[in-house]
Symmetry: C2
Subunit: 213 residues, 2 copies
DNA sequence: AACTTGTCCTGTCATGCCGTCAGCTTACCG
DNA sequence: CGGTAAGCTGACGGCATGACAGGACAAGTT
């Protein structure tokens, strides 16, 4: 699927080269989670990787290029989120459990990748198509099966409900909540209480009914 | 209320100085809406304002400092959002209208200030307390009265509903939807359809009931 | 072992932005 | 008209960027 890893000037990277490249990516990831995106400099990444800036530019056109690489890796990884929805039941108490697991899994994924997702979100908001596409891939891994679930659950009874719109809103809410969980804390809502609250929203959105007690 | 405007080295700015300062802020605002935050350089802002970089550093410690200034200005302006909720009725059809006006007003505010809000959102997500505070001020201008509305409407019938949590989730959803309206487009949801969908969510959240037909 | 080939890394350099300072110009006031 | 403070900029050291050529290295060939 993916072609050979290549340097900026067209050479094919060998074993050692790929190691260096990977080390640079790892260090960049680390930098992103410790300092503001705006302040991440090539020279710092190179220093941390024990190499020189020139080496960095052999493998990536610039910081943004390397970030895209990390982001694409993460987007691949997000495919696993599908399993949180696919083939799950939304009936009764099982449905509520499905909803809770979805919220849990999604928040965990976001927390695990929060640094890179922050940059992806910014890039998407700024109108960069490459970042936008990556963000959509992550969101769609949940939104697509969720829209399907909405259609299956409510589509027959209420034709006015747009599955895509509902699923989109829910996923948007989940992403924003994950990114800004601190805001909820400042509203006096503990992270522990946030999860069931979101799970309830998801259940309501998908089924259109109040959950069973 | 606000003390005199001062330069970085402590002088008080006079009429002419304030004009220059304002011009720099305006140009920075313009830059933010046309190029990625990461690429906004002091020298470009200065050039656009027809002045020199040294002048910029007379009025602001760095780009971030100037951005904070713009953001604070916008946060002041956000106080007007309160009127979208304060003293409004949530009963029956009037409630649905209130909800629609709220969504409309909020999205309009976000769209109007999208460039600066993008940066504020990033800063807040990165853990910068100053940006976080500004973001909370904007969100709270709607979230606070909305939480109050939830308590008034549902608090008596259902003690388990946490007004702050519901209002927080709704405002978070609105903010994220405004920031990423393009995502909805890509899900096949037109901006026109997005608004009523969000309005419905808000109505449901506040009243806990399905809207009247 | 000497040679060849292609990968990998870095020293170096021109360029450009950052952030500071001394010093010049302008405006205001008595 | 002289004093004072505001306002602005040229110039500079420092650092990041991005390109290149060339040296180090590994692996295979003769």
């Amino acid at each position: 699927m993916t072609g050979q890893v290549r340097t900026v000037d067209g050479r094919v990277a060998g074993r050692r080269g790929q190691e260096t490249r990977q080390k640079l990516l790892d260090c960049l990831r680390e930098m992103l989670s410790t300092s503001p995106y705006r302040d991440v400099k090539v020279i710092d990444v190179a220093r941390m990787a024990g190499t020189s800036p020139a080496t960095f530019y052999q493998y990536f056109p610039d910081v943004e290029g390397a970030v895209l690489e990390i982001a694409e890796e993460m987007a691949e990884d997000s495919g696993g989120l599908k399993e949180l929805v696919d083939g799950k039941s939304w009936a009764g108490k099982t449905g509520l459990a499905t909803s809770e697991e979805l919220v849990d899994g999604f928040l965990a994924f976001w927390r695990k990748n929060d640094a890179i997702l922050r940059v992806v979100t910014l890039g998407a908001a700024e109108g960069d198509k490459r970042f936008f596409k990556i963000r959509m891939k992550v969101l769609n891994s949940v939104a697509s099966p969720l829209a399907e679930a909405v259609r299956n659950t409510q589509g027959k009874t209420d034709k006015t409900v747009d599955g895509s719109a509902v699923a989109g809103a829910l996923v948007t809410l989940l992403a924003a909540s994950a990114e800004h969980s601190k805001a909820f804390t400042s509203w006096g809502v503990k992270v522990k209480d946030l999860k069931p609250s979101l799970a309830l929203q998801v259940y309501l959105g998908v089924t259109g009914k109040k959950p069973p007690k």
